[in-house]
């Protein structure tokens, strides 16, 4: 019975992922070959692609997408490992996680805006310098950041956003009971063989950790290559990345430009595929190099530089986050704030009042949507993962399934959402809430799956074997053994799902036709406006909301554990009261 339920869920999830994306994808493929009845285009041809490849600067756009995508992912992965190597042994690591969490939960658009607040020619950093040199007029022409021609600003913002995510993935892998033991074992072996701390991490522990977080890293890579918000806010526009061009064409007043946008979306898919292949090649190269180093048997591995770099990564983050928090909070309360003063002339609640007077409905909409999507995603994903254990699918089917997971991350949102909205309109014009829920699920499920699958697949199966051999049913094993041991991972995935749902702008706007405003749709609308101060308020709101999700995720496992312990040790409650 339970087994059948899990298999059914797997099928459901498969359809849930495949249907919207493939329908949306069809909505892109047809127009890209010139078929678009709404605009009276009925003939198939390659003309649109010819037009696309004749676009001025297309090569540069593709190059920028690849450079910022691959570059940022490589750099972020490296930074994460340096960070981990530098402090995996200390209890400091948990504090690092908490420290980075503001950036983990801040939506991409808000991150880019926060960076502008700090690093733009009139930002906090320029104010610091300006107050030393007593400049009163900030000059944009002398500045490098943002809008540089090379995409470095975009790359930096992406790195900033990716490191916390990869770190979270790595930590959740390292925190699994089976891994904790294994990694501790590696460490002991390393130390007893005379490897020092850092080389033990890089040579013995990392290969095992990396294998488990590889999938999320590839998802990050795809996302970074096709991200729209960050290049839109930080890239020079002569031209920008391919994704911003796609958005531009889809939003163009001349609706026939949609055809070009559709063709460019197809190109974007190929760009992403190329990025993955390139990344895998690098991965192979590094693995080969690493194996040689391992055979060489040196016990030392850039000990000093790793410690230094790891700490510097941390220091950069600490400084940036402190500056972001300071400047955003200040702006949200500021009256006039002339350059280069470090403090506003006065404080006011006006901006908060303006924003909060209109936030009630969007707030509850966002919470309801996020709770429904994230919670149901976690349930679906858990059952699906269980079905892989209880009733493994044929290899081909399994492969198809993991491909369907990546589809929503591979096809740029603007493109396939348009096709999806068209299809949803055909089905029903009333079920806006349901349409929006589906559009969110398409994005939430893959992330929940990726973050949960890792822990789930590495679950020590011998626990289950023991329980089964003692006569427990599959459901009992799932319920009493697996879930309790995976509470941490489940909660983190749930919070991640909430955060992903909170940050969705285009899916919400397109699928609901604007009838379901959320904090993010309000925030993006305010960003397109002219008030620096209102934007700051919205950036804070956008950060606080997903943060609440993570607070729940961090405290819930402890509470559940506490409740469980109390149940088991009712008699020892007195001890607990005086304990730590």
């Amino acid at each position: 019975m339970f087994t059948r339920l899990t298999v059914f869920t797997r099928l459901l999830l498969f359809l849930l992922l495949l249907m919207p994306v493939s329908v949306g994808f069809i909505g892109v493929i047809f127009p890209s070959f010139g078929y678009f009845p709404a605009l009276d285009r009925h003939d198939f041809s390659f003309d649109i692609f010819k037009k696309l490849f004749a676009v001025d600067g297309l090569g540069r756009m593709v190059w920028l997408s690849l450079f910022t995508g691959i570059g940022s992912t490589l750099l972020a992965t490296l930074c994460t490992f340096l960070l981990l190597a530098a402090c995996y042994k200390s209890s400091f690591l948990n504090k690092v996680q908490a420290m980075l969490s503001p950036l983990l939960v801040l939506p991409h658009a808000a991150t880019a805006i926060a960076l502008l607040f700090v690093l733009s020619p009139s930002g906090l950093f320029a104010r610091l310098i300006g107050s030393i040199t007593s400049t009163t007029i900030p000059s944009a022409n002398a500045a490098f950041f943002p809008y540089d021609d090379w995409g470095i600003s975009v790359l930096c913002a992406l790195v900033l956003k990716e490191v916390p995510f990869i770190l979270l993935m790595a930590l959740s892998v390292m925190a699994q009971p089976s891994n904790v033991r294994k990694l501790a074992g590696y460490q002991r072996v390393g130390v007893s063989l005379g490897y020092n701390e850092k080389s033990t991490f890089f040579k013995l522990m990392l290969p095992s950790i990396y294998a488990q977080i590889r999938l999320p890293i590839l998802a990050v890579l795809v996302f970074a290559t096709s991200n729209v918000e960050i290049p839109l806010i930080l890239a020079a526009n002569n031209p920008g990345t391919l994704s911003t061009a796609i958005l531009h064409w889809f939003n163009h007043v001349d609706l026939s430009m949609r055809l070009l946008g559709s063709a460019a979306s197809i190109l974007q898919v190929f760009v992403c595929v190329f990025a993955i292949l390139f990344f895998i090649t690098i991965e192979r190269g590094v693995a080969l190099w690493g194996r040689n180093r391992l055979h060489a048997g040196k016990r030392n591995f850039f000990e000093r530089s790793i410690a230094f770099l790891g700490t510097s990564v941390l220091a950069v983050y600490a400084v940036l986050i402190a500056m972001v928090v300071y400047v955003v909070v200040m702006y949200s309360f500021a009256t006039y704030w002339p350059f280069p003063h470090l403090l506003p002339q006065g404080f006011t609640l006006l901006h908060w009042q303006t924003a909060l007077s209109a936030i009630d409905e969007p707030f509850w909409n966002a919470v309801a949507l996020a709770f429904a999507t994230s919670t149901s995603s976690v349930v679906f994903v858990l059952l699906t993962l269980e079905s892989e254990v209880l009733a493994p699918a044929k290899q081909k089917v399994a492969r198809l399934f993991s491909l369907s997971l990546f589809l929503p991350l591979l096809v740029p949102g603007v493109a396939f959402l348009y096709g999806l909205v068209w299809f949803q309109q055909l089905l029903s014009t009333h079920a806006l809430g349901f349409h929006t829920y589906i559009a969110h699920m398409v994005y939430v499920v893959p992330y929940v799956y990726l973050s949960l699958a890792v822990s789930y697949r590495r679950f020590e199966p011998r626990y289950a074997y023991v329980a089964q051999s003692l006569g427990k049913s599959p459901f009992q094993v799932f319920w009493h053994i697996k879930l309790p041991m995976l509470t941490n991972a489940v909660c983190v995935s749930w919070a991640l799902g909430m955060a992903i749902s909170f940050s969705q702008y285009l899916p919400t706007l397109l699928a609901s036709g604007g009838a379901i405003p959320t904090v993010t749709t309000e925030a993006v609308a305010s960003v397109s406006g002219s008030s620096e101060r209102l934007t700051a308020v919205y950036a804070i709101l956008q950060g606080v909301m997903p943060f609440m999700g993570f607070v729940i995720a961090w405290t819930l496992p402890a509470m559940i554990r506490f409740a469980r312990t109390r149940k088991r040790n009712r008699f020892s409650q007195k001890v607990m009261r005086y304990g730590p």
């Binding site: 350059f339 806006l432 604007g514 397109s528």
Partner: protein, 413 residues
């Protein structure tokens, strides 16, 4: 305990999922059901309008409160970051064969979005004439009320407000840099040469960017104005563009970030003036400047003025979609928007400050008094000074100009 907690958790989840799946359809069906059942129907009108300005949003909130009281109509402001999102949605609905149950009722548009919607038949026609208050705009004497960028409105959209392009500057910056505020197009060039990096204009895909190009083109070719009010021809472009290119070639290297990148949206101009990265900018909504100063978004040394060689002027409109299910209520809404009371509220500097489209000669003395403004804000445009207005060129010029710009200076995505 644990299993019970988790069981509860799962139950909540499943309830949520099913409720969530069931709820929206009920929610959406209910207003219409009610409409058939009771005599005084609670009607719902969805107004898709750019939501980036606190003043405009506040005014639309006022509108919906008034409409709720007077006509029991709920006006929902769907805030857009980009109006073309809504245009795209209506198009998607048309593509899907949805001709009665559209999700957009009213839409705030003008110029190109209107031309697009008109071309694809996305707007209801001939409803504007039914509005009792439309007569107050005196359309017979004011052709601007029925022409949108040289394109006849054919009763598809009703005028809502009026705007002209004015400049604003940071007085303290100009004093420190020892330059005077430019008052015509040639002075603008010399200003940028004396104070490099202090001025820029948005990319031409933004309406304000395109407007700047039109202003420059009109001002640089004062003798050829008749050409601009006819559909564009290659000959007309050959005659007028060289002077524009000469001007822009000289301007760009002295702009913000040496013209290598330009802002994407008009609103970013105001933001950059606010932070001090720019000292001179321009806008179509002069009244937003003093209210932005009041809200601390712009500093107090801002001064607004109009160029001597003319200000580009245009009207913005409200369109009704072809598939709006709430047509009658929507028409009531627009009629109220055109009432003297609503227009006077909109023109207040403290509210929005958008110029009225009503013709004062058509109003009663009592109605006219609604439009009286108290003392002038130091940062506001002095409307007692004469402004020479430049009418918008024919709509076909916008695309021609934009494409020519892209061809010369490269596309900006």
């Amino acid at each position: 305990m644990l299993s019970r907690t988790l069981l509860l958790f799962i139950c909540v989840v499943l309830c949520c999922v099913s409720v969530h799946a069931a709820q929206p359809s009920n929610q959406n069906a209910s207003p219409q059901k009610k409409a058939n059942e009771s005599d005084m129907p609670a009607q719902h009108v969805r107004f898709h309008a750019w939501g980036g300005s606190a003043q405009v949003n506040g005014y639309i909130r006022w509108l919906s409160e008034q409409l709720k009281q007077r006509h029991n109509i709920t006006l929902q402001h769907v805030k857009l970051a980009d109006t073309s999102d809504a245009v795209a949605r209506v198009l998607a609905e048309k593509a899907a064969g949805n001709v009665e149950e559209g999700s957009v009722d009213l839409i705030w548009i003008n110029g190109e979005n209107f031309a697009t919607m008109k071309k694809h038949g996305l707007l209801a026609a001939k409803w504007v004439g039914q509005l009792p208050n439309f007569a107050l705009t005196n359309p017979d004497d004011n052709p601007a009320m029925t022409m949108d960028f040289g394109e006849a409105t054919m009763g598809m959209e009703a005028p809502w407000g009026r705007a002209s392009m004015v400049f604003y500057m940071r007085q303290s910056h100009l004093q420190k840099l020892q330059v005077n505020a430019p008052t015509n197009i040639q002075q603008l060039l010399s200003f940028s040469q004396q104070a490099p990096g202090r001025f820029t204009y948005p990319a031409p895909n933004d309406y304000l960017g395109a407007s700047f190009l039109k202003y420059a083109l009109l001002s640089l070719n004062p003798k050829q104005h008749t050409l601009f009010y006819q559909p564009v021809t290659p000959q007309a472009l050959d005659d007028t563009l060289p002077s524009l290119w000469q001007f822009l070639d000289a301007l760009h290297p002295n702009m913000w970030r040496e013209g290598r990148t330009v802002v994407r949206q008009a609103s970013q101009l105001q933001r950059l003036v606010g932070t001090g990265e720019l000292s001179l900018a321009f806008t179509f909504t002069a009244a937003e400047i003093p209210s932005a100063v009041e809200r601390f978004d712009l500093p107090t040394d801002i001064r607004t003025y109009a160029m001597d060689d003319g200000s580009l002027a245009n009207v913005h409109f409200i369109g009704l979609t072809f598939n709006s299910p709430n047509r009658q209520a929507a028409i009531k809404v627009v009629n109220f928007m055109l009432s003297a009371e609503a227009q006077a509220e909109k023109q207040k500097i403290s509210v929005w400050g958008d110029d009225t489209v009503l013709d004062m000669r058509m109003l009663t003395g009592k109605q006219q008094r609604l439009f009286k403004e108290p003392a002038l804000h130091p940062s506001a445009l002095d409307k007692t000074l004469p402004i020479s207005l430049l009418a918008e060129p024919h709509a076909s010029w916008t695309d021609a100009l934009r494409n020519a710009w892209y061809e010369r200076y490269g596309a900006r995505y």
